[in-house]
């Protein structure tokens, strides 16, 4: 049941033609699973995608696909595989994961607008293929640390949607019991969630050092954005990781904007995959989950034998930097719409899978329903669960508390409560 296709993830001519046919651009992105796909668009996509196909088959269990946008390499003779296999199970899994993240973030955005989520809330919508592609390549021994756009990662690393949304609403069912919030979520092999731009990069190198030290064959993905890419400590981490051949993949998720400053206005060199100097680098289309997976698989193998490299995932965020940023003062609505239409990671993957016969439209509908239900239930839970009792204010400040009393507002009248000791006690 093998089929070979050339991927078409960028379809400028097609989309331009399409725009003439249909003024309602939105139908190509957010209305997933509602059966309203334009037959003209789909037809065009199908024609292009079938260029290398032998025949149509709706019951394929595995397909071989060419990564359409070529990898760019820095100081590497060989790069990731451009021909990748995709099984039906994988297709279902990646689609479900990406769709769950999209739904989670939509729910988070709504909860924020309802003023139920406080403070920070940075959404990952548009970037789903990066996390899902990387997670698909990760093994049990591998680790990840990221900055603060991590709701999706937290879910991928094993926290339920309700654990994520409940953390955002600050209730005790949250994965950090409501004590961390949007930026500080943790799970096994997931070291957060870091609110200090760039600080997670040397921390990730340290996790990589621990992998090498323990000799467990694991590695660490240290993620940062194009904004953090200019922090000095990122280069400090590159340097030591390379000197010591640490198993670390420095992943620059380039969504083109560090807060409201475009990468061109912040970086003298926007080819982030080359900024490790001596470190090899790979550029990958971050809107293509299979390309990200392929690049990560290559990188995992590479860093465990040769030491670190830099992986730039070229991606895009649909929302503003945070909820206080409408995201339109430094870019145009047209730009956002164009990406949503031409490069949306979920839509393009779904259409590819349907075209390949790996997933049926009925299966898509079923997944969408299931995801919607799960996230709706998680939202309801996040809204209804209660916050921790006040005594948790002074719970687990130390893993081994030695303070006779902690100070309250007006006196040293608090006894530290020890509920947990931490994984490294």
């Amino acid at each position: 049941m093998f089929r070979t296709l050339s991927r078409v993830s960028e379809l400028p001519i097609i989309v331009k033609q399409l725009q003439k046919h249909n003024n309602n651009r939105r139908i190509y992105n957010n209305n997933i699973g509602n059966g309203r796909y334009s037959s003209s668009f789909f037809g065009l996509f199908q024609n292009a995608a079938q260029a290398g196909a032998s025949k149509s088959n709706n019951y394929a269990t595995e397909a071989t696909i060419s990564v359409n946008r070529p990898f760019k390499l820095h100081r590497l003779d060989e790069g990731p595989a451009t021909e990748v296999k995709l099984t039906k199970d994988e297709a279902l899994k990646y689609y479900t994961q990406m769709q769950t993240i999209r739904r989670l973030e939509t729910a988070a955005g709504n909860l924020y607008k309802e003023k139920i989520i406080r403070g920070f809330c940075h959404l990952y919508s548009g970037q789903e293929a990066c996390a899902v592609g990387m997670k698909a390549a990760m093994r049990d021994v591998d680790n990840i640390i990221s900055a603060y756009r991590v709701h999706g990662w937290t879910y991928l690393m094993g926290v339920s949607p309700s654990g994520v949304l409940a953390e955002l609403t600050g209730v005790q069912g949250g994965c950090a019991r409501g004590k961390g919030g949007s930026m500080h979520m943790y799970a096994p092999n997931f070291y957060g969630g870091n609110g200090i731009v760039g600080a997670q990069v040397p921390l990730g190198a340290g996790v990589g050092l621990a992998c090498k030290y323990k000799g467990n064959g694991g590695m660490c993905l240290a993620l940062y954005g194009d904004g953090a890419a200019n922090q000095g400590q990122v280069f400090e981490a590159y340097n030591m990781a390379y000197l010591w051949k640490l198993p670390v993949i420095f992943v620059c998720e380039n969504n083109n904007y560090g807060m409201g400053t475009s990468s061109e206005r912040a970086s003298c060199n926007t080819d982030y995959y080359t900024r490790g100097d001596a470190l090899p680098g790979i550029w990958v289309d971050g809107m293509d989950v299979l390309a990200v997976r392929s690049a990560t698989e290559f990188a995992i193998n590479y860093v465990n034998t040769h030491g670190p490299l830099v992986l730039e995932t070229n991606t895009y965020r649909y929302s503003g930097h945070s909820m206080s940023d409408p995201g339109t003062s430094y870019r145009t609505r047209e730009e956002i719409q164009e990406v949503r239409q031409k490069r949306d990671p979920i839509t393009s993957f779904k259409e590819l899978c349907i075209e390949l016969g790996l997933i049926t439209t009925d299966e898509v509908k079923a997944i969408d329903l299931k995801v919607r239900k799960e996230v709706d239930e998680a939202t309801a839970f996040a809204k209804s669960d209660s916050e921790l009792g006040v005594s948790h204010l002074w719970t687990d400040v130390y893993s081994n508390n030695l303070e006779p009393k902690l100070r309250g507002i007006i006196a040293y009248d608090i006894d530290h409560i020890q509920e947990r000791k931490g994984v490294n006690h």
Partner: protein
């Protein structure tokens, strides 16, 4: 850059000011050897323990604290870093999060300013932020406080800075017993510990009891030590200021005033129980530190007393002896005047005791 200059720190052993007659007969140990042997013990005891920092391995340590350890334990356990504080502090914290027990050396604590984000935001807060999921067992250590002839950027006490932050434990040892016992305790502790040494006493030999050399000798974190008992006034100090206080107590003794000298050992937790008990006995208190006065360790002790019943035990205001509120000058005379000297402590004591001095002297006769 003063790093090379710092490396020339005194290597010859000096004789410490002795704290008691009995101690003179005891075994001697320099602070350097105390720290070195503590590291050696803990590297041998726990495979997860490793040292990283500038010059710690091949060079044997800028101040020779890690002398011989690289040869003994190799590249894996004793790691030379480039001059890149923020980066290697971050790497050390990351390694601790992932299950190792790093001892991260700052060549001096002055350079930790480049890395303070990782000490505060990455190390101190993670256990709480993760609701008790991820503790960070790491020791940051190195020489702290005023050194000799190195001017403003290399002469500063960071005790108050780090003690301000919940989630950290902050230790400031004075002598060899403190250095060895507290460093071993710090490495075994599951929380992040800031360990503030003093370059000026690295080469000083202090008398130590026989058990100090034991493999399992540890000094509990959070407990102060009474270095010299007395009934007339309490002098509370940490690090090298303990020596100043002991010398002052000896001077005061000549006037018939018996000062009780408390070596804090830990800045956070602060052992107020020992301070309060002493004040209930002496009814007078002077704090002595080489750091700046504003929001300093002495200021905190004043506040603690004010907020406690112990306040009513005081017969006079608490007074602070602290470093002069200026950046440290280079010139020798100016430098000497920037830090509390023995006479300053004596003067402060006499001021606090006021009219009681005559009574105390009379009582002594």
């Amino acid at each position: 850059m003063l790093r090379s200059r710092l490396i020339q720190a005194a290597s010859s052993a000096q004789r410490a000011f002795s704290t008691s007659q009995k101690a003179l007969a005891a075994k001697q140990m320099t602070v350097r050897d105390a720290l070195n042997s503590a590291l050696d013990d803990e590297l041998a005891r726990d495979d997860r323990v490793f040292i990283l920092g500038e010059e710690v391995a091949q060079y044997d340590g800028a101040y020779k604290i890690s002398r011989g350890l690289w040869k003994k334990y190799g590249d894996k356990r004793v790691i030379d870093t480039p001059i890149t504080e923020m980066g290697f502090a971050g790497i050390a914290v990351g390694a601790a999060m992932a299950g190792l027990r790093p001892v991260c050396e700052f060549m001096t604590w002055n350079f930790s300013m480049q890395a303070i984000d990782h000490i505060i935001n990455s190390a101190a807060k993670t256990f709480y932020m993760s609701a008790g999921a991820v503790n960070v067992p790491i020791v940051f250590r190195g020489p702290n406080g005023a050194a000799s002839g190195v001017a403003a950027q290399h002469s500063q006490c960071f005790a108050a800075w780090y003690a301000h932050c919940p989630g950290l434990k902050v230790i400031s040892p004075y002598d060899s017993e403190d250095a060895r016992g507290l460093l071993k305790a710090a490495i075994r502790d599951p929380d992040p510990v800031v360990f503030l040494e003093n370059e000026l006493v690295y080469g000083t030999a202090f008398p130590v009891a026989d058990n100090v050399a034991d493999k399992d000798f540890v000094v509990p974190i959070g407990k102060a030590k009474i270095m010299r008992p007395g009934k007339d006034i309490t002098l509370v100090a940490h690090s090298k200021a303990v020596e100043t206080s002991l010398l002052a107590a000896a001077e005061l003794a000549k006037k018939g005033i018996e000062a009780e000298v408390i070596n804090l050992r830990s800045i956070r937790p602060l052992d107020t129980a020992t301070i309060f008990a002493s004040v209930r006995k002496t009814h007078h208190l002077v704090t002595v530190e080489n750091g700046w006065p504003q929001h300093g360790v002495g200021a905190e002790i004043c506040a603690r007393i004010m907020e406690d019943q112990t306040f009513f035990e005081l017969d006079a205001p608490v007074w602070r002896c602290a470093g002069v509120d200026v950046p440290m000058p280079y010139a020798k005379t100016l430098e000497a005047h920037a830090l509390p000297r023995v006479q300053d402590v004596v003067d402060a004591t006499l001021k606090v005791l006021g009219g009681k001095v005559g009574k105390a002297v009379a009582a002594a006769k």
